[in-house]
Symmetry: C2
Subunit: 582 residues, 2 copies
């Protein structure tokens, strides 16, 4: 009992797992990542809060306690929780329905939304409904991440070019950018392009160069990972030294300072009723985004994440955000990638980030006054472009046209219609394709492989058959989607074989027979009985037999059930020949 | 080429098939059936139009051109197309959302709904998508029809009581009716209750009574079927003779005399957007009802119907209805059974019925002025209560809790939330349950049944196993929803068996391996290789092998692929022992 209690405790507190092996090397890596992420998060958090229609500092508040709670309850080693673009937009839409932007009611509604979203996520996690995330197939995730990377990178181009542009999908963004070509600020562009090129080179070229010059791999690695920090420091210095703000280069500017306040969600039933639908939607989209990022990053290091525990982690993060002046958060795409690339090894990196943000918001923010926004955009572009990978298209094209269709639709819909529609369409198409396939199951007429007890497809193997006995192997569970198809196929086959005395349905691949399929089997049994043909089953699985025994199917069955196909054919041939001899 | 053209032509025009052999005997049978069906249809069509909230004559219009078009394009020989109870109820629910009953907009919306439904059905038929109807499982259909029957019967109580009440679900209807208890018109109630009782008695008691008194079964049958017409005639006469309209008994009133009018659907994008979802639901429900009636009747005469061509027939019927003042129609159960029992041999019987209704529309409608609406309500109540059948609950409870859950949710949601939500929830739950099940597939560790070449579950059979070889039989296709689960199970099993040298994945039930599952198999292969365990496959199906050969899986595979499980164990035991002996 004690062991069980401890293991349950550990399941809900993954920190007990990774916390045990924590050492100085891991600490150094986590701390470095935390510094880099902190620097990136300050302006990003402010920007997302403004996108949600909230006071800028709420973006920082939403990054502190949520990160710590996720570090304790979450399972991903690299996921960075906080405000993200899609969730910020959805927050603006949901809260805008119940309150006026700029009022205290608006802030309270956003806090309440975070609370409701947290309750919903926690509920899904405690009821272990994380399996829902499995319906995101690998190709759909790959397509979604690739397309999202392109959209995020494109959305950052405006900062590199020093123009204003907006849009939630690729088309809107490109149209908006092209409209601004005349307004490009060339000083900003030089800073942005140089930062981007430097970051690409640091990522791809610096480590091999240092290694070739005799620097130890570990040192080369740290140098490469410090690249973004160096670029931030250098461009900030340049912007300060040459007063680039006077040349139209937009910098981060003044960041409000202060500790997160203690806040409480509203418990007004009316407000809950108006927000609960949006909270569910935000939770699901946020979870899907978070879990796809977490799964991708975990797979790169052969780690695993537990979707149910992720729900608990994200639920706690959102509830924590609601208590400390935040708004809905989830595992963010770009911040997690930066965290991962910067070398974060455990969720402690997140906790250090939270501390960093707390310190930064109290003491360090004035130093970032001159940080060019183009530099931050360059960091994000370089990070997300590494996730853009179209090889999934080639791979699925060769292996499975259905998967290819799912990934293509996901990419096109995400690029053309936005991330939410894109991922929804990808999932829906995967599920539909799966259902369509199982509604037209593969069926094979089988015969005996000479000299063995094996029965294989007559079209693929040289096998022995008997024109009085038809054996049909159904290669799928029988359920509502394919029950009618089975009936049709059997009637057609029986009509074409006048000498037929026995039909054997060989069921080694039938894992389930639902009520609809049971009714179809009863109909087939009746029809064959009228035609003077016996209907048998062979190789029925244990669980399926158990279920069939619960109803009166066997009392009506106009034939037998055989443990093995060989036994079935053996018995029926003998019976048929005995009958013929009489 | 010419032959192909002709055969394609014949496929889309089944009339060319049966029309060729038409002779005087068939004509006489068809004509007799048409007379009986016409007599039955007149009151029924009026009643269903009122149920849909439409002017009574639209029920007749909806029975004329649609019947003729179905006769040309449909494949069932006995199906009678026209307004039916469930579709009329769904029409009322859909159109009631966009327009006020009694307005011209309401009528236009109903006509537009028929048009959209026709376009959708035709599209499904031309693209051969009839399989979509299979996603309505038998229990969901049974539950939906039962719940709809209860709602329809309850909705007609207001006519029996002579009060006004409304609502699209049971609760709304009951609340509305109870609120009107003080307003009951007792004259109406007497007429309505007497008509209901008489119709029940005619349906259940008349035929046995007549047969017992020596009347021939065929005549007794015709007498029983004429019951509704007699009740209509008698109550109409009473209402006229005693001027019951002056006592508050609502009658059908003036029905315009004449040919069905030419009408056109609205092409307003807003109206289309509001109706398209309902049109899809109505089409699918109508198609499923129609096709199951058609298949039942076809089976009785060893005929077959083609579901995709049925879609075309019903699509044309609905578009025809939209052009001639009708509303959504489908193949009705009771009218088709009457048509079949009355001896209809070809779809020409339907055309003759259409002519009969045309005559009625031209000449008989003035006679129906005094027909009490309570009588029509009684007709509907008696007809739909035969659809109410709760035995599906008992049957599914015994057989499968998943099906029981689906049917319970369908019934409760239909009663409590209305027809559209009810059927949608039933279908969604069926699909979710199916997906959930296949995401946690049944897997069995198997061993050799002594003295045979068969391998069965170690938990269910007394089998021979070897602690160096683990054979896992997966009883499901491998795809995105269960790929991760498979990985987890294999890693757990391998971790618990230190002596293990070989893992065999036995695949007789694996009908598909999608891209996600392929990536999981590659991951399993890599992981086992690191652990010094070989990974083998056995009994892989032909189509699955074909697909795996298309990618480089086999070049990485750290083991072999065996045709049979027996061969796998035989080979691996020999290899392992040879290695141990060295």
């Amino acid at each position: 009992m004690r062991g069980n209690g401890l293991s349950a405790f550990k399941r809900y507190l993954p920190i007990l797992d990774w916390g045990r092996d924590y050492d100085r090397g891991v600490f150094a890596n986590d701390m470095l990542a935390a510094v880099i992420v902190t620097i990136m998060l300050i302006p990003q958090s402010l920007a997302y809060a403004l996108l949600a229609g909230l006071p800028a500092q709420m973006g920082i508040y939403a990054s502190i306690l949520p990160i710590v709670l996720y570090a304790i309850f979450g399972t991903s080693r690299a996921l960075a929780v906080g405000p993200v673009a899609v969730v910020s937009l959805m927050t603006a839409a949901a809260v805008g329905n119940v309150a006026q932007q700029g009022t205290p009611e608006y802030v309270t509604a956003a806090i309440t939304l975070a609370f409701l979203s947290g309750v919903f996520l926690l509920g899904l996690g405690l009821f272990r409904l994380g399996f829902l995330a499995n319906f995101l197939s690998h190709p759909v995730i790959a397509g979604f991440i690739t397309a999202s990377g392109i959209i995020i990178a494109t959305s950052q181009l405006k900062h590199i070019l020093g123009v204003k542009a907006s849009g939630h999908n690729l088309l809107e963004l490109l149209v908006s950018l092209f409209g601004q070509i005349g307004a490009i600020n060339w000083t900003t562009f030089v800073i942005g392009a140089a930062a981007t090129a430097t970051l690409f080179w640091v990522r791809k070229g610096l480590k091999p160069l240092l290694t070739a010059r005799g620097v130890k791999p570990r040192m080369a690695d740290i140098a490469a990972k410090s690249g973004p920090v160096a670029v931030v420091a250098i461009t900030t210095f340049i912007a300060w030294a040459f007063s680039l703000a006077e040349h139209g280069v937009r910098t981060v500017g003044t960041i409000p300072q202060g500790l997160p306040p203690l806040t409480a969600p509203s418990f007004s039933p009316d407000l809950w009723a108006s927000l609960v639908g949006s909270a569910v939607l935000i939770s699901i989209i946020g979870f899907v985004e978070s879990v796809s990022v977490a799964q991708t990053l975990a797979a790169k290091k052969r780690q695993r994440i537990d979707p149910d525990q992720e729900l608990i982690g994200l639920g706690m993060a959102n509830m924590g955000g609601a208590l400390t002046g935040g708004y809905p958060v989830t595992g963010g795409f770009s911040r997690s990638v930066v965290n991962f690339d910067a070398g974060a090894e455990t969720p402690a990196a997140g906790a250090f980030t939270a501390m960093g943000l707390l310190m930064a918001s109290l003491f360090l923010t004035p130093l970032l006054y001159h940080l060019p926004q183009a530099t931050l955009a360059a960091t994000i572009i370089v990070a997300v472009l590494s996730l853009v990978d179209f090889s999934i298209l080639k791979k699925t094209w060769a292996y499975s046209r259905a998967d290819f269709a799912a990934v293509s639709v996901t990419i096109l819909a995400t690029l053309g219609l936005g991330v939410e529609i894109g991922v929804t369409m990808g999932v829906a198409l995967s599920v539909l394709i799966h259902l369509y396939r199982s509604s037209r199951p593969h069926m094979a007429v089988v015969g005996q492989v000479p000299g063995t007890e094996h029965y294989r497809n007559v079209l693929r193997h040289d096998v022995i058959t008997d024109d009085r006995i038809l054996t049909l192997r159904v290669d799928e569970s029988l359920y509502f989607a394919n029950a009618r198809y089975l009936e049709d196929r059997i009637y057609d086959m029986v009509a074409a074989r006048p000498k037929l005395k026995h039909v054997i349905l060989m069921c080694p691949a039938v894992n389930e027979i639902d009520m609809s399929a049971l009714e179809s089997l009863e109909a087939i049994n009746e029809r064959l009985k009228e035609l003077g043909v016996q209907f048998h089953l062979s190789e029925v699985k244990g669980p399926v037999m158990d279920r069939l025994r619960r109803c009166d199917f066997f009392s009506h069955l106009n034939g037998k059930v055989f443990l093995s196909q060989h036994q079935a054919v053996h018995t029926l041939v003998a019976e048929t020949e005995a009958a013929a001899a009489e």
